[in-house]
C-alpha cells in the first residue's frame, strides 16, 4: 500500500530521517513507534507532502507520491490527523465534517450557479454520512457547536471522524490516543476496528503499547530517524534493539 524507499530528510545538520525503507504491504493496520524525536511525525510529513524528501521515493498503491503538494497527496487517498489536533475552531462540528469530502461539486464557482440541483443533492448525501459518523463517535449532541468548545478528547474524535469522512484509502493517525482518558481510547479503538472492517487502511504513530498490540498487525520501529526493526507487535515488544532504543542505553 504505502512504500518508502531510501528516504532521507535532514534539517540543517540534523538527520531527521535516514535511509528509511518500509512497506505496509496489505496489512490493514500498521504501526509506527519509537522514542520521542525519532522522526515519526517527520515521516508522516514526508509522506503527506508537507516536506519534500532529500532523497528516496515514496509510493502509494504503486504510484509515486513524493514531491506532490499536500493537497495533491490527500486527493490520492491519504488523509492524516495531527499530533496537536487541527480541528476548525470557529466552525461547527457538522461543518468540520462537511469540509472533508473531496471533489465536492459545490466547491466550483460555476457549479454553484449552474448545477444547483446536483450541489443540493450532494450536500444532502454528505450531510447524511456526516451525521452517521458523528453519531458513531457519539458527538451528535454537539453537532451545531463550534469545534473550539469541545473537550480535547472530543476534538480528537472529531478529527478522526473528519478524516474518515474524506473517504480515504489510507488514514495516517498521529498519536490518536495521546492525552485521552481510557474510555475514549476504547471508543477510538472500536472505531478504528470498525473502519478496518469496512476496508480502510491505517498507519498509526503510537506511544501506548497496549493500543499498538491491540490494533496493529505490523509495526515499524524508528530510532534517530532510522528504521531499526519491524515485525508483529509482540515480537517487537521483546526485540532487544527496540528495548534499548526506548531505554536510551
Amino acid at each position: 500500500m504505502l512504500e518508502l524507499n531510501g528516504v532521507n530528510k535532514s534539517f540543517g545538520g540534523i538527520q531527521a530521517v535516514s535511509h528509511c525503507t518500509l512497506n505496509t504491504k496489505e496489512y490493514k493496520i500498521s504501526g509506527l513507534i519509537g522514542p520521542n524525536g525519532s522522526g515519526k511525525t517527520t515521516l508522516f510529513n514526508l509522506v503527506t507532502g508537507f516536506i519534500p524528501p532529500d532523497h528516496g521515493e515514496i509510493h502509494f498503491q504503486g504510484k509515486r507520491i513524493d514531491g506532490l503538494l499536500p493537497h495533491e497527496v490527500a486527493i490520492r487517498g491519504i488523509v492524516r490527523t495531527f499530533q496537536i489536533t487541527r480541528i476548525l475552531p470557529k466552525m461547527t462540528v457538522l461543518e468540520n465534517m462537511l469540509i472533508a469530502p473531496p471533489h465536492q461539486t459545490g466547491e466550483k464557482f460555476g457549479s454553484l450557479w449552474f448545477k444547483q440541483k446536483a450541489v443540493k443533492k450532494e450536500e444532502g448525501e454528505n450531510r447524511k454520512k456526516a451525521l452517521e459518523l458523528i453519531d458513531l463517535v457519539r458527538l451528535s449532541h454537539l453537532k451545531d457547536q463550534f469545534a473550539e468548545n469541545l473537550s480535547y478528547g472530543q476534538q480528537k474524535l472529531l478529527e478522526l471522524a473528519r478524516g474518515l469522512m474524506a473517504d480515504p484509502k489510507m488514514i495516517l493517525l498521529d498519536e490518536p490516543t495521546a492525552g485521552i482518558n481510557p474510555i475514549m481510547i476504547k471508543t477510538i479503538m472500536e472505531l478504528i476496528l470498525k473502519m478496518k472492517e469496512w476496508g480502510m487502511f491505517f498507519f498509526i504513530i503510537e506511544h501506548n503499547m497496549d493500543v499498538v498490540i491491540e490494533l496493529c498487525e505490523w509495526v515499524f520501529v524508528l530510532d534517530n530517524g532510522e528504521k531499526i526493526a519491524e515485525g508483529r507487535p509482540r515480537e517487537i515488544q521483546n526485540d532487544p534493539r527496540v528495548i534499548e532504543a526506548y531505554l536510551g542505553v
Partner: protein, 300 residues
C-alpha cells in the same frame, strides 16, 4: 430630505464595499489592506468608458471585469505569502494603483481628475435624481448581499472559512488553498469594483486623491466594527460609520476648522481601530455557532 437620501446612498455604497472586503478578510482570512485599489479601478474604468460615450451597461461590465482581473493578477504572486507579507503587498498595491491614476495623465487626466461623469442609464432607465440613485444602489446592495450570502452558505464558502481557520488542515484534506484564496480575492475585487462604479457615477467627479489609505482604513473599520465574518456586520458598520463621517460634513463648521477637522476625524478612525482590536476584536455582531450548509434550510 436631500441629506437623508445622500446619507443612505453613501451607506449603501459602502455596504457593498464592506461586504466585498468581509468576504476576503472576515470569511477567508486574507489580510487585504489595499482594497481601495479595486474600488478605484472600478470607478475609473466605468468613468473613463462612459465619458467616451460607451453605454453604461458595457462600461459597468468592463469595470467589474477590470477589477476582477486586477485582483487576479495581484493575487498570483502574493497569495502564497504569510499573512503579514500579503498585508504589506496589498498595502503597497493600493499605493501603486493611486500612483498610476496620478501619473498616467494621458488616460486619467492625473491629479486634475475626471469631471462630469454621466449618470447611469441601465436598460433605458436613467438614474439621475437622488431618489432614483437611491433605488439603484439599493438594488445593487441587495443583489450583492444575496449573492455573497449564497456563496458563503455554500460548500465554497465553507472552504473559505476552513482556510481562515486552519490552512494546514484544509490542505491536508485535499483543498488547494492557493486556488481558493484566489477565488475569494477575485470575487471580493469584483464587488469592490461594483461599489467604486456606483460611487464614481454618484459623485460625478473623481481624482486620484479619492483612493487613498483613508478609504482602506474606513472600509476595514466598517467590517471589523460591524463584526467580521457575519452577514449583517458590514451593513451595521456602514450605517454607524458613514453616518458619523457624513454628518460632520453637514454641521456647517467654519472653514478654518476644516483644516483640523479632517485629520482629527481620521485620527478618530485610526484610534477606533486600535481600541476595537484591543478590547473587542469581534466587533458588534459575533459569529454564531449555527450550521450554515445548504441542505438544512428545509429541514429546519
Amino acid at each position: 430630505m436631500d441629506l437623508f437620501l445622500h446619507l443612505w446612498i453613501m451607506i449603501l455604497i459602502y455596504t457593498i464595499f464592506a461586504m466585498s472586503l468581509n468576504l476576503e478578510v472576515g470569511y477567508t482570512g486574507l489580510f487585504n489592506f489595499g482594497h481601495v485599489a479595486f474600488f478605484g479601478i472600478g470607478a475609473y474604468t466605468s468613468a473613463l468608458l462612459t465619458l467616451h460615450q460607451v453605454p453604461f451597461e458595457l462600461a459597468f461590465a468592463a469595470a467589474l471585469i477590470a477589477a476582477g482581473l486586477s485582483g487576479f493578477f495581484l493575487s498570483i504572486p502574493s497569495l502564497r505569502l504569510r499573512g503579514d507579507y500579503f498585508g504589506i503587498a496589498t498595502l503597497g498595491f493600493g499605493e501603486i494603483i493611486r500612483m498610476i491614476f496620478q501619473n498616467e495623465v494621458w488616460l486619467t487626466k492625473g491629479p486634475m481628475g475626471l469631471p462630469g461623469i454621466p449618470k447611469p442609464v441601465l436598460f433605458s432607465c436613467r438614474f439621475a435624481t437622488l431618489p432614483q440613485y437611491l433605488l439603484l444602489t439599493l438594488g445593487f446592495a441587495i443583489l450583492t448581499f444575496l449573492v455573497l450570502r449564497f456563496i458563503i452558505r455554500s460548500p465554497l464558502g465553507r472552504i473559505f472559512k476552513a482556510i481562515r481557520e486552519d490552512e494546514v488542515a484544509s490542505t491536508a484534506l485535499g483543498k488547494n488553498v492557493f486556488h481558493f484564496r484566489i477565488k475569494s480575492f477575485v470575487i471580493g475585487s469584483v464587488f469592490a469594483g461594483l461599489a467604486g462604479t456606483l460611487w464614481g457615477h454618484y459623485i460625478t467627479f473623481i481624482s486620484p486623491g479619492d483612493f487613498t489609505l483613508l478609504e482602506t482604513i474606513l472600509v476595514l473599520l466598517i467590517v471589523v466594527l460591524g463584526g467580521k465574518g457575519t452577514e449583517w456586520g458590514p451593513v451595521l458598520g456602514a450605517i454607524v460609520l458613514i453616518f458619523f463621517q457624513e454628518s460632520l460634513r453637514f454641521l456647517r463648521l467654519p472653514a478654518e476648522w476644516a483644516h483640523y477637522l479632517a485629520p482629527l476625524q481620521q485620527m478618530i478612525f485610526g484610534g477606533l481601530l486600535v481600541l476595537l482590536m484591543i478590547f473587542r476584536p469581534e466587533g458588534i455582531l459575533r459569529e454564531k455557532g449555527k450550521s450554515t450548509d445548504v441542505g438544512t434550510k428545509r429541514c429546519q
